[in-house]
């Protein structure tokens, strides 16, 4: 048993403050275990959202020592104990209470993206024939657990609050999963360029750094979308080729 100090932010969207808690922890415990211990022994009114404790539900997102992380996947022995471990709610969304934030903006924004629009099925029963190598690329995007750590660390949302103009990395990954899908026929490039603000991303790769599913968000989702937008709107050579009928 070791003794550690946690500095947990408590309050709601209007005000709040850090509270220090000292607690005993065992080997192998994660940050969420320590928070639960504090909740059980010292602060029964501490609000914390969690569900699977296995890094798959994306509920326990928080900022641990300033970095966006899943509390259930952050082992205490990986953190320095010479000072209190700071735990805060994620910053890009309104705080409900203590460590719980209102992430519903993401789900509302998701509805503004054109849904999957499949081509005509290959078989009478509605089945599609697809090669594994064609589908592999979008399978990476579908690993997303919607923890919104990428949205939180993205400075366009976190610091510049461009929620009305930019959909953020998570929803760009969602768009890429649809746009790069071999059976999809919808064109989302104009909305990605204009309403969803793909150009706001300045490729700092912070979203990739914090992704607990290790999705290469910038390289495999955002940049391929940016390149497709260049194809369609910023490449004069391709515009000429399209006018001449050489390209579609």
């Amino acid at each position: 048993m070791n003794s550690i100090q946690l500095r947990i932010w408590r309050g709601d969207d209007s005000s709040g403050q850090y509270h220090d808690y000292k607690t005993e922890v065992d080997d192998g415990m994660v940050v969420l275990d320590a928070v639960h211990k504090v909740q059980a022994e010292q602060a029964p009114d501490l609000a914390v959202r969690w569900n699977c404790k296995a890094g798959k539900c994306g509920s326990c997102s928080a900022e641990v020592n300033g970095m966006p992380r899943l509390m259930c996947m952050t082992r205490l022995n990986t953190l320095p104990t010479d000072a209190p471990i700071t735990i805060e709610p994620i910053r890009a969304f309104p705080r409900v209470r203590d460590l719980v934030t209102d992430v519903s903006w993401n789900f509302r924004k998701k509805l503004t993206i054109k849904p999957f629009t499949p081509r005509k099925p290959d078989f009478p029963d509605g089945e599609f024939k697809m090669q594994q190598e064609d589908i592999e690329r979008v399978q990476e995007h579908r690993k997303c657990i919607e923890c919104f750590l990428c949205q939180n660390v993205c400075h366009v949302l976190r610091d510049h609050h461009k929620h009305d103009e930019f959909i953020g990395p998570r929803l760009l990954v969602y768009s890429a999963a649809l746009e790069l899908h071999p059976a999809d026929t919808a064109d989302r490039l104009k909305s990605l360029k204009d309403e969803h603000g793909a150009g706001y991303c300045n490729i700092t790769k912070c979203c990739t750094v914090v992704c607990p599913e290790h999705i290469k968000i910038t390289d495999n989702a955002i940049i391929p979308l940016k390149e497709r937008i260049v194809d369609e709107y910023y490449d004069p050579l391709k515009v000429v080729l399209r006018v001449l009928g050489v390209r579609r």
């Binding site: 500095r7 932010w9 309050g11 005000s15 709040g16 403050q17 850090y18 509270h19 220090d20 900022e63 020592n65 300033g66 970095m67 966006p68 320095p80 000072a83 700071t86 805060e88 090669q131 190598e133 064609d134 690329r137 660390v153 400075h155 366009v156 976190r158 610091d159 510049h160 461009k162 103009e165 790069l180 899908h181 071999p182 999809d184 603000g197 150009g199 706001y200 991303c201 300045n202 490729i203 700092t204 790769k205 912070c206 750094v209 914090v210 910038t218 390289d219 940049i223 391929p224 940016k226 390149e227 497709r228 260049v230 194809d231 910023y234 490449d235």
Partner: protein, 282 residues
């Protein structure tokens, strides 16, 4: 119980992070600044670009052209009597060109533009030079933000055109590396050989190829633009090869940048006679 309130907007550099988050942006700032200063000095030096011009007897047999001056558009006036043989314009400097402009100044816009608009370098220098943000989850100095959504940074979308030029440059630099395997005999004839400079120039092509062929735009244009890749097996193969290089794009970017500077330093040292190239002529 501590009584700190949580700030809604963080000030410049403010963060709860305890790791040395500042190390990477400082490294990027120092490395890119050093490269920019060195490259500018070399571009405006206008000499010492060809090892065969050396005052050292042993180096006069070598045939190394620095990548900073390749392709060599014309021979500078001070070397007109002993031309390197690499100049594209045999007539020398065009009359309309100011005398202070070196041959390197005419061509460096292409590799410089390629790196300036590169997706990796963009992210790196936005952090290191513009603090936008200084690092992940660290407060920024400015409130206003336009990103690459509007002018002037909308111009970054020109990247693929610089990539086309960079691919052409690979062939030119490969030709220079090939020439670097030829050594001049006292009677003026050329013989096969290999020297330290030959290896330096060959590695330069290898590192630049790793960087250029793993570029995000290259990866997109060779196959990434397609959804059903299996329909074109060759393009799919190219995309997979490019993806393989792209996974280490940052490493290729730094290795090739450092090596191109080292190649220039090496050729310059040979050209000035400060360093004697070791080579074996067959």
């Amino acid at each position: 119980m501590s009584q700190m309130t949580l700030p809604v907007k963080r000030s410049w550099g403010e963060t709860q992070r305890r790791d040395a988050w500042w190390k990477t942006p400082v490294f990027v700032f120092l490395m890119l600044s050093a490269f920019l200063v060195y490259a500018n000095i070399r571009v405006f030096e206008g000499d010492n670009y060809y090892s065969g011009h050396s005052t050292a007897e042993a180096n006069r047999a070598t045939n190394y052209l620095t990548p900073f001056y390749s392709p060599l558009m014309f021979e500078v006036e001070s070397r007109a009597a002993t031309p390197s043989g690499h100049a594209w314009l045999s007539s020398g400097r065009p009359g309309w060109l100011p005398a202070w402009l070196s041959p390197a100044a005419l061509i460096l816009i292409f590799p410089a533009g390629f790196r300036f608009t590169c997706y990796y370098y963009r992210g790196a220098y936005y952090k290191a030079f513009w603090q936008d943000p200084p690092s992940c989850a660290v407060g920024e100095p400015r409130n206003e933000y336009r990103g690459e959504h509007r002018w002037p940074l909308l111009i970054q979308n020109i990247h693929r055109y610089f990539m086309y030029c960079a691919v052409v440059f690979l062939f030119i630099l490969a030709l220079d590396a090939w020439h670097g395997l030829h050594f001049r005999k006292p009677d003026g004839s050329w013989r096969w050989g290999i020297g330290v400079g030959s290896i330096v120039l060959l590695l330069n092509v290898v590192f630049l190829s790793g960087y250029t062929l793993g570029c995000h735009s290259f990866r997109h244009l060779v196959g990434g633009h397609r959804n059903a890749m299996s329909e074109q097996a060759f393009k799919h193969k190219l995309w997979k090869c490019s993806t393989c290089l792209n996974e280490k794009h940052m490493a290729w970017a730094w290795t090739s940048l450092i090596w191109v500077a080292f190649s220039d330093v090496y050729v310059r040292l040979c050209a000035t006679g400060t360093w004697t190239d070791f080579h074996i002529v067959f």
